[in-house]
Every structure is written in structure tokens, then in C-alpha cells.
Symmetry: C2
Subunit: 142 residues, 2 copies
Amino acid sequence: MDLHKKPGHLIRRLNQNSTAVFSNHMQQVGLDLTPVQFAAMDVIARIPGIDQAKVAAEIGYDRATIGGVVDRLEQKGYIERTVCKHDRRAREVRLTEKGSEVFDQVAPVVQALQADILPGLSLAERDKFIELASKALAHIDG
Amino acid sequence: MDLHKKPGHLIRRLNQNSTAVFSNHMQQVGLDLTPVQFAAMDVIARIPGIDQAKVAAEIGYDRATIGGVVDRLEQKGYIERTVCKHDRRAREVRLTEKGSEVFDQVAPVVQALQADILPGLSLAERDKFIELASKALAHIDG
DNA sequence: TTCAAATAATATCTATACTTACTTTTATGG
DNA sequence: CCATAAAAGTAAGTATAGATATTATTTGAA
């Protein structure tokens, strides 16, 4: 019954390290973006004009959390919100010009830091981890 | 550059599911314990009289976070804090009788819910995941 | 031995994350 | 057409999670 060999504990520790690695790399580039903020920007970059609820669904969050994330991205001037014409309940979200520049600058950094999130693993082991994690998540989402 | 195939994103999603599964099982038993609160109680049960800083080090947290966790466990009456005789800066932490009962009740539940944290994986796959995660964490810790 | 460095805990601040409740707006069934 | 359910967003509350600063205490080095 050692906690250090249980999936829940291991995942929690890996997640801590993941956010720490992300934060360190952002600091080195002189930017202030969190993992969730980047994930949101990634979705918005791919689907300009998407509404907040769909952003939340896309990256697996509830609406309330994404509301706060979008608030902070707006305060930084990275995105802008407009009321949707067809559905006045919804807010369409788009990257600003500044937001696009930041995203283009950050994307390769995020790409590069992935290796540090699972350190000490070979490429094959990392692929295996991704395969197993994806398989588990498929059962969770579906 | 799909976020859904990157370790950082996958780990974050798995961690979300992990805490959700934990929360659901706790509700079914009629108890209000978070994963971190359980992890803290597990350490305190194994090492009665341990101080907060060592609890934090044991489960991989900073002292500030554990301070809040210990606050809430104390409010629930599950633990008690006493000033250490040999070092008056430190607070020794112990499970109360009520805390011990709750821990004994919860431990098998936590044991059982681990399977739901990585659903859809065979036993061998789950073991492989644990092996890879442990290997990565070994490189992180030291 | 005495004073600076280090340590334990706390306080404060920011940012997730989720729940529940509430408002506004849209969709739908009779 | 209208009552009602459903959906989008927000607000409030709780619990992590870490950074930084402060206080109290202990340790260590000159």
C-alpha cells in the first residue's frame, strides 16, 4: 500500500512537474503563460470565433474555469471577446494580433519542452507512455 | 502539433480524471477527503509526530500548500498539531482517534479506485504505465 | 560567543479547477 | 403562441498549488 506506486499519486506528481517545466520555459522566453492559457490559445488559433463553451469542451474543462482563463487572456490583450450575432448568450473568442504573435513565438517552445516533462525516458518509452495515456483517456471521454 | 498527443496535455487530463474519480468514490462512502488530504494522512499515519515540512517533502509539495491542507484536516478533527519540544519552529502532526478511524475506512476505498484512474488498460498495461511514470519521476526527484 | 545564515511555519497573492446557483437568451413541445 | 426546458456565461465558495515575504527559532561560522 505504498502511495508512490499508485497511478493517482504518480499522475499528480507528473502534473506538478509538467506545470513547473512549462513555467520555467516561459520565464526563459520572458512570457507569462500558463499551460491552460496556452491550450486555450491553441484552440482559439485553430478555430477563430469559437465560443467559450466549445473551448472548454475542446480541452476538457468546465465553463467556469475557462471563463477565468479567458478573462486573463483578455486582460493581457491576447484575445478579444465579442457577443455572437446568432446567439447572444455566447461570446466569440479570437486571437488579437498581439496574441497571434505571442502564440507563434510560444508554440515551438511548448513543442520543445515536452521532452522535459517525461525526463529520463527513451523515445520509445515516451511513445509508449503517450499510447497508454491516450488509451486510458479514450475510455474516459467516450 | 496536436495538443492531444503531447505528454503535458495528457497528464493534465489524467490528473483531472484522477481527482474526479477520487471525489466520486469519497462521496459514495459519505466522506469529504481530497487526494492531497488523503496523501497527507497516509504519511502521518505511517510516521506519527512528523512535522509539516517533512510531510510536504514526503508527498512532493511546498510547505505553504501543506499548511493549508493541514489546517483543513485539523478543522475536520482528523489530526492534531503540537509544537515540537526539540525545535519550537516545527509543528508535530498526528492522527486523532477519529482521524485513524476515517483513514482505516478510506484506505481500502483508495486502493480500489486506482483501477478507475487508468480505465480500459489491462493489468500489464497499467503496470507498464506505473513503471514509466516512476522512471520519469526518479529523474525529476533526484 | 555572537551574529549571520538557514529553517519551520505562516501570510499574501495569483491561477487553476470544480460545484452550485443565477441571469440571460434560445429552443422546443403542446 | 407560450410555458418550460436547455444552454452560455457569470458569480460565489472551496481547495489545491506555487511564489514571495515575514516571523520565530535554531544552527553554524568567524
